[in-house]
């Protein structure tokens, strides 16, 4: 008997009797005998809790990467997560609850969702946000599908400087939906080099900052697009101090919300945020919490505009998404509330300041230079003759930067990417420089 199963032998007997069957096997008589009970599923005995703890802990400790000082980005970032976030997430009324279909016993979930939607709108400069999607990449794909539904266009303008992982996911979704990707190059400063808008374009994607770390200028883009959507894929941390895509007329702003209070998690779970204009509300994928009143006139929250969703609209739904990334969105909500306007700005500026400080020092080392002259935020490409050797040298000093090959899809063979957050201390920055300079 396992500790999660409370049925004793006596319980089982009594329950079988109430049902009127002789044994448990009789409860499976509807499963064809030819395929029933013919195998051992995992070929393993039950294990005790101490063993399971040792085994999983052993796996976790086996990954050497976690002991390195991370200067890693490429879409996910090592920001400080205040412990208060984890404490709230461990409140099991929140973590062990289902989707809040029954609002009277789900005001906790529905209220924080409403707060989250408010905060995402503030960050992005948009009018309405959903309560989360899986991750930034699928959020981008959903945005494109929405643009396609809204405009009928089948061509997507995709910058070469989009995060390669987001691009790959988008390509899969687009192939499924019968859409095509058209690449937009970047200029020598690393910024988007948009030329013409092809016929049948449903959307232009802009990433802010882009996968090269460079900040894009969104001015005037929307005007050039006609009815095609301007979709921004933004990192939420810089949005504390840079003008949000909403100010430039973006139709949709999506992004990876991991930097907002969520750990790297070896890439999952993540948090896709999605914000748009009220005009597009009924085309928006995902759940939404809305404010209303109860029979006594008391303010409360419900899941609303459910007619967009698949359990009602079925094949006509705006998306098939159902389970989302709620607990990660709660982490983002608590994180943003904990940081506040000033704190988020501080996180952004510390990352900016330290990244620029490091970049300036690297650029002074003979043989190393910044790849792009365009403005960057907290991540930048370093160009050098032997990027693999440089990264290996850093590794020997206990420092991790991404393998240079992650830049290959971006057309860069002679560089590596460096990301800096507010967590990197002066000592760590010095250690980076010492290692690079071979001291």
């Amino acid at each position: 008997m396992n500790p999660y199963l409370p049925h004793t032998a006596a319980d089982i007997r009594a329950m079988l009797e109430a049902i009127g069957v002789p044994d448990v096997d009789a409860l499976f008589s509807d499963v064809p005998a030819a395929v029933r009970d013919r195998y051992r599923p995992v070929g393993l005995p039950p294990h005790d809790e101490l063993w399971v703890q040792r085994h999983l802990t052993g796996l976790a400790e086996r990954s050497t990467g976690r002991r390195l000082i991370p200067f890693l980005g490429g879409g996910l970032y090592d920001h400080y997560i205040p412990p208060v976030v984890g404490h709230i997430l461990s409140r099991s009324e929140l973590s062990t609850a289902y989707t809040p279909y029954q609002p009277e016993v789900s005001q906790g979930t529905l209220t924080w969702m409403f707060e989250y939607q408010t905060m995402i709108c503030e960050l992005t400069g948009m009018e309405v946000a959903n309560a989360s999607l899986y991750d930034g990449a699928t959020a981008l794909a959903e945005a494109v599908l929405m643009a396609h539904r809204a405009t009928g266009g089948k061509r997507i303008l995709v910058p070469r400087s989009l995060h390669p992982r987001a691009r790959e996911v988008l390509a899969t979704y687009a192939w499924g939906a019968g859409l095509t990707l058209h690449e937009v190059p970047y200029d020598e400063d690393g910024r988007l080099a948009l030329e013409g808008i092809p016929d049948g374009a449903c959307a232009l994607i802009v990433q802010q900052p882009n996968a090269l770390g460079v900040l894009e200028d969104l001015t005037g883009l929307k005007d050039r697009l006609g009815k095609a959507f301007l979709i921004a894929h933004a990192n939420p941390i810089p949005l504390a101090v840079i003008e949000p895509p909403g100010s430039f007329g973006a139709d949709v702003v999506v992004g990876e919300g991991q930097p907002l209070g969520n750990p790297l998690s070896f890439g999952g779970p993540l948090l896709g945020f999605f914000a748009t204009r009220m005009a597009h509300l009924r085309r928006m994928p995902g759940r939404v919490s809305g404010q209303t009143r109860d029979v006594d006139g008391k303010t409360g929250y419900v899941m609303t505009f459910q007619t967009r969703e698949q359990h009602i609209r079925r094949e006509g739904a705006t998306s098939n998404i159902c389970t989302n990334s709620a607990l990660c969105a709660l982490a983002a909500t608590v994180y943003l509330a904990a940081m506040g306007q000033e704190g988020l700005k501080r996180v952004a500026l510390l990352s900016f300041e330290r990244a620029h400080g490091l970049a300036a020092r690297i650029a002074r080392v003979p043989g190393y230079q910044l790849a792009f002259a365009g403005p960057f935020f907290h991540e930048f490409v370093v160009r050098c003759a032997d990027p693999v050797g440089a990264v290996a040298k850093l590794r020997r000093a206990g420092i991790a930067v991404l393998p240079p090959r992650v830049l290959a899809p971006l057309g860069i063979e002679d560089g590596f990417l460096v990301a800096v957050t507010e967590k990197r201390t002066a000592e760590e920055l010095d250690r980076f420089m010492s290692a690079l300079e071979g001291k």
Partner: protein
């Protein structure tokens, strides 16, 4: 309910952050003027005591598995072991960056590989991807795999239809539609199972495949499953199995043996990871031999004692997730499987089916049972027999008894449906208490129906005006001049 914006005052903060090295204005001036933000995002300004009280208060307005019985049909709300939460928080997983070289991530890759082996064994199928982040994401992945198979076999233009029993999960048609399939609904027969005649009639050279929910949303096992899959295969189609209801038969039968070509598994249901108020989940997909070449990249492979990511899959549909799926969720589910082993997995389905049939036996009579058959992990009642009250009233009244209501008005093919899934982790005493509450409510419906109409009476808010929420949409706070 007040929001966090109702607390705090300008200048308060909940976290002390390091100072900048330079004056703030100087740092800001490094951002090109046209990019620098003009109006700051309006976020709360609260001290840590206020922050903690607010979210603690919100938590106390919520109902979770840890507070009580949660018999939501089709959702498998079972106990979430506490060990797993601690394991998933280990920095060797939680703080590991997914773009590090394989050799720096051996433990995490080993974990993914082990999980893949376990799930392939449970499914009885030779291939797997752990990338899908949820059940519906798994469905989408499955549809993409089928589409790719059609393309590879030159049948993409020809086979455009997906057959869908009317007892399937609600996400299925939406998933099929996302990759351009048209959906053909198949009626259930009087048994509540797939109508074989209707199936035969629908099959043809334009059919790409079928999406089967097993057991279906009536909680019934498709007894003709082997016939169904044979018919579809014979007609040149593929069979998708929706695994959201795997809890009904885990350890006892394998979709691979029943003819599944694609099968998704909701780890957050069957393998007991917390639902988190709506997510994150995980929806790995297993596939038959036929679909192996199309699986997403990268694949985690083992070479001797080492693990690596394999990318050389030219026919792959590509990525459906930017990294490897919801790894922390996978870690919890793996811990569950390792704790149970083969015997424990069988105990899970035994306990789930036992509990469902036990509750069904107690409730049938006072409540109408539209399909009176052996149930699997859940069963569907109808509130129709109770005059003057609706299923919604029953659901709301259950809250006053301290229970979360079952799923209501689903599946659509049962009027006034109440879909009850107790799971195996509930003690018999809880099932008895729930049955007693349901029977008391049936009595109240006759004797004091207004008690039900006005329910719930004891919750932080009472019945909410959902129409108003649509009529006057308020989807974020009006922050005014803050």
């Amino acid at each position: 309910m007040s929001t966090i914006y109702d607390r705090g005052a300008p200048g308060r903060r909940a976290v002390a952050l390091p100072p900048l090295a330079q004056p703030e204005e100087q740092v800001l001036s490094g951002i090109p003027a046209g990019l620098r933000r003009q109006g700051a995002p309006r976020l709360p300004a609260v001290s840590q005591p206020e922050l903690v009280r607010h979210y603690t208060a919100l938590s106390r307005m919520n109902y979770g598995v840890d507070t009580g019985f949660y018999p939501l049909g089709s959702c498998t709300m079972k106990h979430n072991p506490k060990l797993h939460e601690d394991l998933a928080r280990h920095p060797g997983l939680a703080d590991l960056h997914p773009l590090l070289p394989d050799e720096e991530c051996q433990g995490a890759l080993a974990l993914l590989w082990e999980m893949g082996e376990c799930l392939k064994g449970i499914a009885g199928m030779p291939g797997i991807t752990l990338q899908p982040a949820a059940g519906a994401h798994g469905e989408l992945t499955g549809m993409l795999l089928i589409k790719k198979w059609l393309e590879d076999h030159g049948e993409l233009g020809a086979r455009t239809k997906i057959l869908l029993p009317d007892s399937a999960h609600g996400t299925n048609p939406a998933s099929a539609a996302m990759v351009g399939f048209s959906v053909v609904s198949l009626p259930s027969d009087r048994r509540g199972l797939v109508d074989l005649a209707a199936l035969r009639g629908a099959l043809g050279p334009d059919v790409a495949g079928i999406m089967l929910t097993v057991p279906n949303t009536l909680g019934l096992f498709e007894e003709d499953i082997l016939t169904i899959t044979s018919l579809v295969h014979d007609a040149g189609g593929l069979c998708y199995f929706d695994g959201a209801n795997l809890n009904a038969y885990v350890g006892r039968a394998r979709p691979g043996d029943m003819g599944a070509d694609v099968f998704h598994i909701n780890l957050h249901k069957t393998f007991s990871t917390p639902h988190g108020g709506g997510g994150p989940g995980a929806g790995p997909v297993t596939v038959s031999e036929a679909l192996l070449p199309y699986l997403p990249v990268p694949e985690v492979v083992r070479e001797g004692g080492e693990f690596k990511l394999a990318w050389d899959r030219p026919k792959s549909i590509g990525r459906v997730h930017p990294y490897f799926g919801n790894v922390l969720v996978i870690a919890k589910a793996l811990a569950y499987i390792l704790t149970l082993g083969d015997d424990g997995l069988r105990e899970v389905s035994a306990g789930a089916v036992l509990a469902a049939n036990y509750l069904k036996a107690k409730l049938a009579g006072p409540y109408k049972l539209p399909y009176d058959r052996l149930a699997k992990h859940e069963f569907v009642l109808s509130g129709e027999g109770l005059d003057g009250v609706r299923t919604l009233d029953i659901a709301k009244r259950l809250m006053d008894y301290g229970f979360h209501p079952p799923t209501v008005y689903f599946p659509l093919i049962v009027r006034e449906a109440l879909m009850i899934e107790p799971t195996e982790t509930e003690p018999r005493e809880t099932l008895d208490a729930f049955a007693a509450a349901m029977l008391a409510i049936a009595r109240e419906a006759r004797e004091q129906p207004e008690l039900l109409h006005d329910a719930p009476h004891t919750t932080p808010v009472r019945r909410l005006d959902e129409a108003r929420a649509v009529r006057e949409p308020r989807l974020k706070l009006d922050l005014g001049d803050r």
